[in-house]
Symmetry: C4
Subunit: 270 residues, 4 copies
């Protein structure tokens, strides 16, 4: 019995064995399928025509997800740790709405929460050749974490102040009806998104907005510069180095064109 | 006869000879002309005045393109390979609608597919001084292919999840009528395009949208950083090396400050 | 008495002692609280329900800010210098509207100016681990100050000229009613914000706008490049140096490949 | 007489002497003033109140510009070269509309062309400390000219093809009334401007638009990467080098911490 648990634990939670990988792949496609199903079901015209089919497929997927959820709890020694973990809560949230919809009308819409399970898709990045690259990206992001925090903090303060100023300058009629709404507009403008649902109408407002846009246009350079320099730093000259080590002294990081060890003068094997 | 085929094969498919280059240039201008013709023909007011002229010119270009298409098939040893190739299908698609328009009314609009032939314009990049530069750009893009895939994959998952959340949060009245539409909105927002045809109206929705915009504003740094570092890497460290070679062993790429050869220890002549 | 002043001066104006830090932290939270209060008070629906509560809380915060303002004046030797300083004016501006609102109806809205005190939040960046990172960012920005000025100057001239041209090209009906408004549109377009409240309707106008967008899309590369290169420069070449020091003269920062000291020619120990 | 011409030639066309600089500065402020005047005159409400004042000031500026134009012709040996030059045409264009407005009603609006004279503002960049920085920017832009041309060329072909496809996919009702207009939309979308005056309504259209946005979001990385790498290349390690040269052998580019010449071992003078 213990072996059975251990084996299934490996299949469900690890991705090292053949079965473990297969389980991961099947689960990922099931998640993608369930999300597409929810997406199609939310389109009114499709729901009217294929509503019954969608409903049946959703029950099948919900059943499979329920089995998976129970399995996860069964094979773990301390299942509570999983249940209250981030993924545990998401897995439960993707099940409950379907069962709730039997008793409570309208709760069915919450099935859309199932899309949160897509976060598991990031496991794919751990499955194949993407490991190295995604690690490099993560390293660059983590290394520039503090710089980016400082930057976002400054942006938020700037948007709050400028949003408040615009609230004083602009009439309510042009959409600046409250300070939170004006700050929302300031963010929309500084990030160069620019919906246009709220837009300044007065001359002073348009002048301030112009300054904000040019600022936002220049400020975007900062996070880009931060991340660029981190990624550049990651490969310092490695591209021009070969991987052989000196047979005499073991020195590494020889230049690609080196024939002799730079440390002891020993001839390097091609 | 075989020589005739070989000669025309060179003219049509290669760009090394004088005739081959001339053929390419004429073809490219013909494609540009045909696309401009289609563009002008789609403007209602111009079509009413010059409709007959446009129609005649289109017939002339269609005839020339037909001749070119037949020539390509004739001079090739295995024409089927061309016919089912990417460019072969496009070349055919740019011919058919004009002939179809004789029999089926309304099919004329498909003549716009002719603009796909513009893809041949990228051959220009192989004609002249642009070769080196476009190669460098392509190398940088290909080298950062995996990193950019990881990045786009993460963006898509993020947009799907956030679009679904917005569908739950926002009313139908503000444009979030289905999940696919909400995901479309999420992409419009994260990429800082911001049409404004769909825009959040509730406080919670605007709050989530604000976070998404700032995220999108920061995330744009990642592909930029990736491509920047690749282009920077293409000239690795050359700037910090001097041009002298060792008088003893001839080693090059010494550091600017080096007094002794890194390879044989010989004193370097300044 | 003098000691009392000196002690409080340290608490209020410095952040080196325990009490000084505490004072700063309490003040910052008070500022954040007061700004949130003003934000909530500007939302019509919340103001109708909680108006009395908001008013009372604002009086409490105004009193605390008044005490802080008086303290600052009391403990300084030359208080006028503070009063007419940037922060001094902001501190006063955040007090006056509340007292004015007793006498003059409508002046209450100016209380939003209190959000300017958020600028003090930047002091947080001097409190903790963010010092280094924010210094680096500031250094990069200051180093690229001249380049960015040149860039912004060029952008402004370009927007003025192109805005004026669009005013001549476009009808008043599409929103280009005056030159300043057209320049505002040009800035909205070049910075890729794109509200859409003003948009070209004529063919010529859309053609010019297209060119402007592509220009703006390309021009954004310039500030990014400037800041990127400054941040990259901050760690110049350290990655390509090894950590060994010369056994003879103690020189450091040798090249990774160096076998001999660049300073005295001594053989380096691997 | 010849001396008089030579002196004024230096004042008007050069900026090396004191008088030459003064002339440039006065001219630049006059141009700025005249552009502001045209801007204010285009605002309907201001024009109704201050119309007479604006008209008088415009006559004064036009007279001064006329004198300057005549002077430029007088002092030059081959005035025709100036008259048909780029700046010569602009200078004339800024004069003519005012005189024309006496005879032809409505021609007055063309006075806005005067804003083209702002291009002379770029001379400021040659006056002061901005020379070096603007030269560096120009060098970086010129060095990356070919790469950016390739890039813009690819963008234009892409927008033409995708715009045409959208014309076929979308109804006329959503704004895609002609192919040029659809291409305009494609540029608005790819550059992340996103006015929203034209926006896809069909599911297929929104799907294609989503792909275009993500492409545009990624593609912006390319010009940024190009310019960044050029600017980075401009200062290869110079920051860490001092400016002294060896008193013995004249070697330069010593490291900042170098006490002895890296080439001949001579002691460097601090």
């Amino acid at each position: 019995m213990k072996d059975w648990k251990a084996k299934w634990h490996e299949i469900i939670f690890e991705a090292d064995t053949k079965e473990g990988k297969l389980f991961d792949v099947i689960l990922l496609w099931l998640i993608v399928g369930s999300v597409i199903l929810v997406m199609l079901g939310s389109v009114e015209s499709l729901n009217q025509r294929f509503g019954l089919l969608f409903n049946n497929l959703e029950w099948i997927i919900s059943t499979l997800f329920s089995i998976e959820y129970l399995m996860r709890i069964l094979v773990l020694k301390r299942p509570m740790k999983y249940v209250i973990s981030f993924y545990g809560v998401i897995d439960l949230l993707s099940l409950v709405p379907k069962y709730l919809s039997i008793f409570i009308a309208g709760s069915h819409a919450l099935i859309a929460l199932r899309s949160l399970r897509l976060l598991r898709m990031f496991r794919i990045l751990k499955l194949g050749t993407y490991v190295g690259e995604s690690n490099k990206l993560m390293t660059a992001l983590i290394a520039s974490r503090t710089k980016i925090s400082v930057f976002l903090f400054a942006i938020l303060i700037l948007c709050t102040i400028l949003g408040t100023v615009m609230y004083l300058v602009e009439d309510n009629s042009s959409g600046f009806t409250s300070i939170p709404r004006s700050i929302y507009w300031a963010i929309v403008t500084m990030t160069t998104v620019g919906y246009g649902d709220i837009a300044p109408q007065t001359v002073v407002g348009q002048f301030i907005a112009s300054i904000m846009m040019i600022m936002g246009y220049g400020i975007i350079a900062i996070p880009t510069g931060i991340v660029s320099s981190e990624i550049v730093k990651q490969q310092p000259g490695k591209a021009s180095l070969n991987t052989q080590s000196c047979p005499n002294c073991g020195a590494e990081k020889h230049d690609t064109f080196a024939k002799f060890c730079y440390r002891c003068g020993e001839r390097l094997e091609g």
